[in-house]
Amino acid sequence: MKPAEMFRHMTRIREFEERVKRTFTDHPGVIRGHTHLADGAEASIVGSVATMRPGDQLVSTYRCHGYPIALGSDTSALMAEIYGRATGICGGYGGSMHLADPERGFLGTSGIVGQNIPQGTGAAYAAQLRGRGDVVLTFFGDGASKQGAFHESLNIAAVWKLPVVFVMENNSYSAGVRTDLEDANAAAGEPLATKARAYSIPGVTVDGGDPLLVHETVGAAVERARAGEGPTLVESRVYRLSAHGNSIAPPGVPLHYPEHEAVTKYGDVEEYEAAKRGDPVPRFRARLVESGALTADEADRIAGEARTEMQAAVDFALASPHPEPAAALSHVYA
């Protein structure tokens, strides 16, 4: 994937997430439950997904809007899912936390922290059995590495030399808890990629705000996996630019997006402001324009197209029908 194309996908993800967030004020009540945004992680997502070839697959957590956008899923169907419509990519059954688009390689998500990690490992076992050199990317957060499921999976993947890349998006927070308060490596001042050492596999830390670096790092891990040499743990350092999720409230109480926990919980305005200044989307744009890979006009056009696309996604979702109530009893069994 060309850098300009990476920028286009990053811009699309950002615009999509901003429209999801704006929905809480523009159309109160339309989004229910809990949404988790990928803003700030666009470079990491796009750089990772760009390493995939047809036949490769991925699984993710509830923070899942970015991957299908990078994979080329229909953003109108994605937005309609988040709006709970029958036209949604999962028919309104899953909502924001449970997107899937298996034809494009997106096998699905788990809303339960850490539990998608063994699932990605199992998909990699299936890939190993297929014997076509396919690889599975397994995305999860820093917090998920505190689950037994993470450790059990890394061990098996290492012993079986499974073609899986464990991409840990380390955003320094598990909901409201800072990583150094809950992670032994972080508390010792070491990167979380250190955990790979326990399983005798490569563990690398990369600036998740740089899509080219992510592409190179995850790409090397993917090649290693394709070659039958087994898994890699990639710790991608990102900063989520929104709160963990929207506010949590009983039905009837309007939902909103609070400020980032750095501010609300730790009073660390400077940390958050610094993260904003380092925002990977404008950062990559500036770099591309500076290097001549993209003109400012082209960058503006890409941004304009993303706005048009996501406006259409919102319009489509709003105009779409709600599912029939009795559809609730479909799909209980396959």
């Binding site: 059954y93 909502g95 808890v177 039905p251 919980k265 709600h322 009893l329």
Partner: protein, 323 residues
């Protein structure tokens, strides 16, 4: 409750008050979990200090297993598990460890611990966060399960849970957290295995738990206008389950409607139906009717979420069907 001063407070605040009072009363009570000690001014942290009130990593197996071990070693841990589904990753520790220690040791050890978690958050949280999954814990020997429906019961059941020498799963209902009600001041204990008649009546017995108690009470008001006098019973703990109070009521009414937010085949309703069919058969003058959630996961979209849940209209229709 003559002589007892009560104040209006929320279900969530009442639950916290019980934990606070018990921590003040017994220094062996400790509180940990992912959503405790959220800020330096957290009232628990301030009152009891960082050793007894600790935030944990996202490690349910360790959290609940540690509670079991600390309990064996003399502490009375309260683990805030946030959502009931989260403790499923630690299922062994919940249903196959601490609950069996007392029995397997021939009574030599005890494991007093409380797992506090919310359930039933049918507010668009979709498949993995909205379940009413208590059914899978109620038949587990050695484990007690409390399901408060009012602020006063929440306080009283939590206090009893902490003083109990057995592992207790205390499940608070997410849709009730902000509901207000009168709560007794100071020490307030609600015994386990003691159902509460939330509304006396003579024509039909309705048994409900948690959020559905309030749906049943609202349905009872509507039915009263039609001259149908409904008795609403809340078991409050489903393990142990007070079947005697239910059977006594059925002796009087001869009619039983069971309301439950759990899926039918994993519900308290089904267990009560079995008990009453066996022990109250001669009193029954109509078939037992169950108004439960339908046997599906909860979908994200509201029309589908509503469709599978019990509600006031379904309860009214069920009562009319037998009255």
């Amino acid at each position: 409750m003559t002589g007892v001063t009560t104040r209006e407070m929320t279900y969530a605040a009442a639950t916290n008050e019980a934990v606070h009072l018990e921590m003040a009363r017994d220094e062996d009570v400790v509180l940990f979990g992912q959503s405790v000690a959220g800020s330096p001014d957290d009232p628990f942290l301030k009152a009891f200090g960082a050793d007894r009130v600790r935030v944990t990593p996202i490690s349910e197996t360790a959290e609940i297993g540690m509670a079991a071990g600390a309990a064996l070693a003399g502490k009375r841990p309260v683990v805030d598990c946030t959502m009931a589904e989260f403790l499923l990753v630690s299922m062994d520790q919940v249903v196959n460890e601490a609950n069996r220690f007392h029995y397997m040791s021939g009574g030599r050890v005890t494991a007093p611990l409380v797992l506090k978690a919310g359930y039933g958050f049918t507010a668009g949280w979709a498949g993995q966060h909205t379940g009413s999954i208590y059914g899978m814990f109620m038949g587990v020997p050695g484990l007690k399960v409390a399901l408060p429906s009012t602020p006063a019961d929440a306080k009283g059941l939590m206090a009893s849970a902490i003083r109990d020498d057995n592992p207790v799963l205390f499940l608070h209902h997410y849709l009730l957290l902000l509901e207000q009600g009168p709560v007794p001041e100071g020490e307030h204990l609600v015994p386990f295995g003691s159902a509460d008649v939330k509304r006396p009546g003579s024509d039909v017995t309705v048994v409900a738990t948690g959020w559905t108690v309030h749906r049943a009470l609202a349905a009872a008001e509507r039915l009263a206008a039609d001259g149908v006098d409904v008795e609403v019973i809340d078991p409050r703990t489903i393990a142990p389950l007070d079947t005697a109070t239910i059977l006594t009521s059925v002796e009087k009414t001869g009619r039983l409607v069971l309301v439950d937010q759990a899926t039918r085949h994993s519900s308290v309703a089904t267990v009560i139906a079995g008990e009453v069919a066996e022990h109250g058969f001669s009193a029954l003058r109509a078939p037992i009717v169950q108004v439960t959630a339908l046997d599906a996961s909860i979908a994200y979209a509201k029309p589908m979420e509503d469709y599978v849940l019990p509600d006031e209209d379904k309860i009214v229709a069920a009562v009319r069907g037998v009255a």
